[in-house]
């Protein structure tokens, strides 16, 4: 598959971008998000960090259109065409799938990709495409497994494969808080990084692992209802607000733990 956004001009970042303008979300009288402005260029991984309840997952759901919000989302593709409805790939934080649920990975893919009802079985062509998509995340062997039987890391990889099929204009990743070990997390980040380069993806990643963010993100946004600060990982992690938000001890543990 050809990278969708690359233009051959070499500098795709100036050519396509996603703009989030003045997003506000309120539940009842509580303001969850206020005045969020973000520009995301393709090939760029933007990590969103912040304390619990900062509205990180809410922001992703607002971008998806699942949660009501004010403000505008616009997308300008490489050919200069503007749209308010970019193709979005989404990896949810967790699936809460019942272990007894008789839904296979193949079912999930075919149900997402096509209108051919999965209760009648899977057409050969769809099978092939699913296996191809799964092989991108080294998960071809999981096609026949029940969703409920996958480990946390496997689920995450399968969901990633699903989110980039078809290659989206914007990829939203909500990193799981638990259920994946450190090694699984690193494998996931390496995959995301590789896919980003290969397909020139724009990625927004909600993360709890500051160490991995430091290593893989191009830009970091510190969110706590409003955007507290934004910049390269180096800039943001030098900002005193980070210490304020996460606490000095925790922060020290997180960053030194990673350097070993």
């Amino acid at each position: 598959m050809k990278p969708k956004h690359s233009t051959g001009a070499g500098n795709a970042c100036n050519l396509c971008c996603t703009k989030i303008e003045d997003f506000n979300v309120t539940f009842g009288k509580t303001e969850i998000l206020k005045g969020i402005n973000l520009h995301i260029h393709c090939g760029e991984l933007t990590a969103i960090i912040g304390p619990n309840g900062a509205g990180k997952s809410t922001l992703l759901k607002a971008i998806l259109g699942e949660i009501k919000h004010t403000g505008r989302l616009s997308f300008l593709d490489a050919a200069g065409k503007q749209t308010n409805r970019p193709t979005i790939g989404y990896v949810p934080q967790s699936m809460h799938i019942d272990p007894g649920s008789p839904v296979s990975v193949m079912d999930l893919f075919v149900a997402s990709r096509s209108n051919a009802p999965v209760w009648l079985g899977h057409a050969g062509e769809e099978r092939g495409k699913t296996l191809e998509a799964l092989s991108r995340v080294h998960a071809g062997h999981l096609a026949g497994s029940r969703l409920g039987n996958l480990s946390g890391g496997e689920t995450q990889r399968v969901l990633l494969a699903l989110a980039i099929e078809p290659i989206p204009d914007l990829l939203l990743l909500d990193e799981p808080i638990s259920g994946i070990d450190q090694r699984g997390m690193e494998v996931f980040y390496e995959l995301v990084s590789k896919l980003r380069e290969e397909y020139d993806l724009s990625i927004i990643l909600v993360s709890h692992d500051l160490g991995l963010v430091q290593q893989y993100a191009d830009r970091v946004v510190l969110l706590n209802k409003v955007i507290e600060c934004i910049g390269t990982p180096r800039e943001v992690f030098a900002n005193p607000k980070i210490l304020e938000t996460f606490g000095a001890l925790w922060f020290a543990k997180e960053t030194t733990g990673r350097e070993e």
Binding site: M95, G100, P102, D107, A111, V118, W119, L147
Partner: protein, 279 residues
């Protein structure tokens, strides 16, 4: 159409199949059990068992409304009320953060209580007890025709909507990212469950109608590994329970609906057991 059915079944050497009412009932079973087997898969996936139960019970109010309005066949007032009831629950559920269980519990209490109050006025509740346990053997050819139409409608809906329903049941945000109109789909599915349950109440009985929706799918879940097997087993269990239950009820002289449910329950326990053995 019925002539064809009668002559086909006339060729079968079964004693219980000699009577016209049994022939009608068998045809009804062949039409209604696949409907419940199919729709049950998603009802169980979405944990809607309690909701379906509540829908069945709300039929009491539907009947009561029909009596007040003086409608001869209360089916229409039952369907109308079930639709309002179902959308009501959906809307309260979506607008509130109260747990779904509580919302459904409150709705059911109100519906059952007001139904009983109205129908028992003057001590005449006994007239309506057929609705509680159902009477499959009284089904007419015209009514089986109606069931046939419902089956076709369900299959068409399932053909076009199952993939989307499946995604919504797995993860709503994921479904949204694929451009699925979640609320619209939920309303449509809930309405269809409401109509199917309500139509079948007079044959199966409102006390146990929910079991026919839940048991076959729950049994199939124990042994299925993917969506196709899930449907296959669920419909198969539903059909087998229906036919076996009908025959047993003929020889035992028991209520058909409840007998079918007992057979389905046996299937459920067998599959649970075999699941344990497999693991």
């Amino acid at each position: 159409m019925m002539h064809l059915w009668y002559s086909i079944t006339g060729l079968l050497p079964f004693e219980w199949l000699q009577y016209i009412f049994m022939k009608n009932a068998l045809l009804a079973i062949l039409l209604v059990t696949p409907i419940f087997g199919i729709m049950g898969t998603m009802v169980v996936n979405n944990r809607m068992a309690f909701f379906a139960d509540s829908l069945g019970h709300s039929a009491l109010t539907g009947i009561a409304i029909g009596v007040i309005l003086g409608i001869r066949n209360p089916l229409w007032s039952m369907i109308g009320f079930a639709l309002i009831f179902a959308t009501g629950i959906l809307m309260v559920k979506n607008a509130n953060k109260t747990s779904t269980d509580t919302v459904i519990g409150v709705f059911t209490s109100v519906a059952v209580a007001s139904g009983i109050v109205i129908l028992s006025r003057g001590g005449g509740f006994n007239k309506y007890s057929t609705y509680l346990i159902g009477d499959l053997l009284s089904i007419t050819p015209g009514e089986t025709g109606g069931l046939g139409l419902v089956l076709i409608a369900v299959i068409i809906f399932w053909y076009f909507s199952f993939n989307k329903l499946l995604l919504v049941s797995i993860n709503a945000s994921l479904a949204k990212s694929r451009g699925i109109k979640i609320f619209f789909l939920e309303v449509l599915f809930t309405a269809l469950v409401a109509v199917v349950v309500t139509i079948s109440i007079q044959w199966i009985g409102l006390l146990i109608i929910n079991s026919l929706l839940v048991l076959p799918a729950a049994g199939a879940r124990n042994i299925a590994g993917n969506a196709q097997q899930y449907h296959l087993y669920s419909v198969a269990i539903s059909l087998c329970s229906g036919i076996t239950g009908l025959i047993l009820s003929y020889y035992w002289g028991t209520a058909t609906g409840a007998t079918i449910i007992l057979v389905a329950a046996v299937f459920f326990f067998i599959t649970s057991f075999s699941k344990k053995l497999l693991n």
